[in-house]
């Protein structure tokens, strides 16, 4: 079983306590009525499907209950790092540091 580090509990917790929340860092358009149909479709449905590093949301559902963001490698299924919701995407240097 995977152990996932919850940035709020600051502890490694088992995977069964968590639920997946989709791709992270997707901002809702400030003024939805001003967007074109295509922009709205992209916001609702179009997601990256990368091979490798993926930024995604997770929720510590059966723990502290909070949503947070995680960086996961979709090839190895290993979590690189997790960080609190609302924080910017970690840059390459931070990812390298988390890996080592």
């Amino acid at each position: 079983m995977l152990l996932i580090r919850c940035p709020y509990c600051e502890a490694e917790r088992p995977e069964v306590e968590f639920t997946y929340g989709g791709q992270a860092h997707i901002a809702r358009p400030q003024n939805p009525s001003a967007t074109t149909d295509d922009e709205w479709r992209d916001f609702l449905y179009i997601r990256a499907n990368p091979r490798g590093i993926h930024y995604e949301r997770w929720r510590h559902m059966h723990g502290c209950g909070r949503f947070f963001n995680a960086v996961r490698d979709t090839v190895t299924d290993k979590f690189v790092m997790t960080y609190k919701a609302g924080l910017p995407r970690p840059d390459q240097a931070e990812l390298e540091a988390a890996r080592s």
Binding site: M1, A11, E17, G65
Partner: protein, 184 residues
Amino acid sequence: MQTHHPLAGRALPGAQGRVSIRPVEDCTRFILRIDPQNLGAASSVWGANLPPTIGGLVSGSGRIATCIGPDEWYLIAPLTEQDAIESAFAALYATTIHSLVDVSHREVGIAVDGPDAVLALQASIAFDIAAMLVGSGCRTIIDRVQIILLREGQDSFRVEVWNSFSDHVWNLLAGICREIELGV
């Protein structure tokens, strides 16, 4: 309030005293949600310090307070103190916004005691129970059921589980205790 205790009268004294489970007597339980910045005000109303970090547990004089989320506390007190706690927090509401919800009717407690208590719980909980600090609590999953697990002593745990799942968790733990007893 529902007074029926779904596990009333059950007890499983483990032979050889290695691990035993028993229902904890009825008590008052609350979920408190409050901005952590206002924790001091809530602590003074509660009458004891509320733990500031997730996992923290403070107990004394029949009361237990544990922090299970960034702004969420699980409070346990004797039944006789329920009205006093509710009215005290109602008075606090005038100055500090918070939410105090009585969940007494929702949950029951199961005490798991004995030198093999860690082994018994580890059989169905996915994280490292032995590494859990004495005097800490957390919400977790036991055999797909959400519980709040409190470690009150080296060999004494308390499982807080919803009424509707209590029968399942009880039978699960009873089976595990029996296996430990028989050395399977």
